[in-house]
């Protein structure tokens, strides 16, 4: 088994492994960890209330797993903040936190300011647009951090096939992941292709890591996190948890284009500063995911983009058309 394959085996979880919340809370309390939940929002009145109700009831009242729930908003024009406040979340406008730094607008801004505003040793980020919200979205992400001290960054992924046939099935992320991020990682950071869904918006991170990495404020934040945490702490700092199905509104292709463009900017900046732009020439392996039942493995595909020179350089051609 390759190193990468054994990492996948040891660091990939399914949320159902952590169903025992009582035990989880016990270990959390023994380790004296404080956990904060951050919901970054922009016009999410339809879904934010339900998320707060479920998390407060299941993970604060019944099982005290999280210590604070905060909504950090980019300036919603709907009733997002009113609904959130009504159900007992702490609500902040991103622009009110560290106001001297001047405002910037984007989801990454909210995530970054959460580090300043929230007090947890661990911060869990969950998007506020999930309509099938469930406590697993939080406990599935924080559990590896609670049980394993060496894990620093846990990423969610979503994979729930409707039938498990025992046959191999394709797996992996959304369109931007498979078309842009996975090929880029295959070229420049093959280890990071072990993340099944590098762009998912749900992750739990230790403060000691969050305070040491930069935050693109827009689409590139997830990609840059992976590269930066990998460069500073190595692949062993990561884990990933299958959170089953996530239902949210689908984006159209033009929106995905914007997203891809933002990610590409962030990526090039990172690749340049790490001095790895030339590395791509040596790599011809694309790493995709496939799954057999609940086992994930990488599929290595050799794609060689061989080239022919301009026809003018071929002697036979020059002869035939008298181009001497």
């Amino acid at each position: 088994m390759s190193n990468l394959q054994s990492w996948i085996k040891n660091n990939t979880y399914h949320h159902s492994k952590f169903w025992d919340l009582k035990k989880l809370v016990e270990v959390k309390e023994k380790k004296n960890l404080k956990i904060s939940l951050c919901l970054p929002t922009l016009n999410e009145e339809k879904t934010v209330g339900k998320e707060i109700i479920i998390f407060r009831s299941e993970l604060m009242e019944r099982y005290p797993l999280i210590d604070e729930i905060a909504v950090i908003d980019s300036g919603s024009t709907d009733r997002t903040l009113e609904v959130a406040k009504n159900f007992g979340a702490d609500t902040y406008l991103a622009s009110d936190i560290l106001p001297d730094l001047g405002p910037k607008r984007g989801k990454g801004e909210n995530l970054w300011k959460a580090i300043y505003q929230l007090e947890g040793d661990v911060i869990v980020y969950v998007d506020a647009d999930i309509s099938n919200i469930h406590p697993r979205f939080v406990y599935g992400l924080v559990a590896p951090l609670i049980y394993r001290d060496e894990v620093k960054y846990v990423k969610g992924f979503y994979d729930r096939p409707l039938a498990l046939s025992g046959n191999v099935r394709p797996s992996g992320g959304g369109r931007v992941t498979e078309i842009l991020v996975r090929p880029l990682f295959s070229l420049f950071f093959p280890d990071l292709t072990a993340m099944i869904q590098p762009l998912s918006g749900e992750y739990a991170v230790r403060r000691e890591v969050l305070e040491q990495i930069a935050f693109p404020i827009g689409y590139g934040v997830e990609t840059s996190h992976l590269i930066d945490v990998y460069s500073k702490f190595g692949l062993e700092a990561f884990a990933q948890t299958d959170l089953d199905k996530r239902i949210h509104e689908n984006k159209d292709t033009q929106d995905l284009g914007k997203m891809a463009f933002g990610i590409l900017q962030t990526f090039i900046k990172r690749a340049k500063s790490l001095g790895i732009m030339d590395k791509a020439e040596h790599t011809t392996i694309l790493r995709q995911f496939q799954a057999k039942r609940d086992q994930y493995e990488q599929k290595l595909i050799e794609i060689i983009e061989d080239e022919r020179p301009p026809m003018m350089e071929i002697e036979a051609y020059r002869k035939k058309y008298h181009k001497e």
Binding site: E45, K46, T47, G49, K50, I52, I53, I54, R56, S57, E58, M60, E61, R62, R79, E82, V83, N86, F87, G88, S131, N132, H134, I247
Partner: protein, 389 residues
């Protein structure tokens, strides 16, 4: 709680105390409501409810052979002196599993298919043990929590009938929970006969005859005749023509047509007579047209119940009065009638205010829920104290 009057006085206080359970209650409501539970396919919802019972420390909870979810909150009195109080809420909905069951939560309402009928009733039931424990409320008698299945439509109360037929417990009283409307007080059931009339054009029909060979026309004849039936004003009686279906397209003659109807009356005799008349109509139309017309009786209920002045009704009215609620009396054809058949004094109570039942945008209000719960807890405590016997 020493006596009934001190309980009554403390009710408004209880409403305030219940507000702190908002998230727990609404989380239960959302989670129960988002599990589809069409009649005959309630397993996943029942499983969730059983998990909640187990988490609340109801060690004697189980799924009975009828598929009902049953939880037992043991009373504090010595076993030999204990009776049982039943709190039931039907678990099934009219929505198919393919319907999007997502619940939407706003500051003061919750919207989603079946949220009022009956996710709200179930949520109140599964949250009650948690509230009792937190508030230190302990009943002397056993409280049996029943999420009964196969209740609606063709389910025909199969779940609660199975439970009552097979239970060894001695029930002193029972309360059925419905999500809406707050203030509803049902203590009697009316006589009911529910059926389907199906018309079909025989296979061998002469298709060259023009126009008059439609099952819809035949059914129309039946409907006209039912409409002409003379019904007494007292005892109050009505026939609900509830649903109709038939045919396949604009330009083909309908081969089949079906009417769903319900006869309701305060008098069993009138129900039976109306049933016989409908049977006569069916036979008459059948022989006249040569079409196949058939009456299929799906369910019957007998009228009955406890009187308006019965202790249990009185207790509930008193609770409502103290909470500033105007009791709205209405007879019921649901769970209540199964309990009445077994001679168990029973009531149906609503929990909150809502609208648009039977549609996917069914909506309930959050604020009235606390009063609804206080009324139920108050009625349970007085039933437990023997004030309702």
């Amino acid at each position: 709680m020493k006596d009934l009057s001190s309980l009554n006085k403390s009710l408004p206080d209880l409403v305030e105390k219940l507000k702190k359970y908002r998230e727990v209650l609404l989380a239960n409501l959302v989670m129960v409501g988002e599990i589809p539970a069409p009649t005959f396919n309630e397993e996943r919802r029942i499983e969730f409810i059983l998990n909640r019972f187990a988490e609340a420390g109801l060690t004697e909870s189980m799924i009975d052979e009828g598929g009902n979810g049953v939880g037992l909150l043991s009373g504090s009195a010595p076993k030999s002196e204990r009776k049982a109080i039943l709190l039931s809420a039907h678990a099934d909905t009219i929505f198919s599993a393919n319907t999007d069951h997502t619940m939407q939560v706003s500051s003061d309402t919750i919207t989603g298919p079946g949220v009022a009928d009956n996710a709200m009733g179930l949520a109140a039931m599964v949250t009650l043990p948690y509230i009792f424990e937190d508030l230190g409320i302990e009943l002397k008698n056993d409280l049996v929590l029943l999420a009964n299945v196969k209740s609606l439509g063709k389910g025909n109360l199969e779940g609660i009938h199975f439970f009552l037929d097979n239970s060894t417990l001695d029930f002193s009283s029972a309360i059925c929970l419905e999500g809406i409307q707050l203030g509803r007080l049902s203590y009697s059931s009316i006589g009911m006969l529910r059926g389907e009339i199906t018309c079909s054009v025989p296979e061998s029909y002469d298709w060259s005859r023009f126009g008059d060979a439609s099952a819809i026309l035949t059914l129309n004849e039946v409907i006209n005749k039912i409409n002409d039936m003379k019904l007494p004003r007292r005892p109050r009686t009505s026939i609900v023509m509830g649903s109709i279906s038939g045919g396949t397209s604009f330009n083909t003659i309908a081969r089949d047509a079906t009417l769903g109807f319900e006869v309701r009356s305060e008098s069993q005799e009138v129900v039976e007579r109306a049933g016989e008349t409908i049977q006569d109509i069916v036979m008459e139309v059948s022989s006249k047209t040569g079409d196949h017309v058939e009456l299929n009786v799906l369910s019957r209920r007998s009228p009955g119940g406890i009187p308006y002045a019965a202790p249990l009704t009185k207790c509930a009215r008193k609770m409502m009065d103290n909470l500033g609620l105007e009791p709205r009396l209405s007879p019921s054809v649901s769970e209540l009638s199964a309990l009445i058949e077994k001679n168990i004094p029973a009531l149906t109570l609503g929990i909150t205010v809502g609208e648009r039942t039977f549609k996917t945008n069914e909506t309930i209000q959050i604020e009235p829920i606390y009063k609804g719960l206080a009324q139920i807890i108050g009625t349970l405590i007085s039933a437990d104290g023997g004030y309702c016997e």
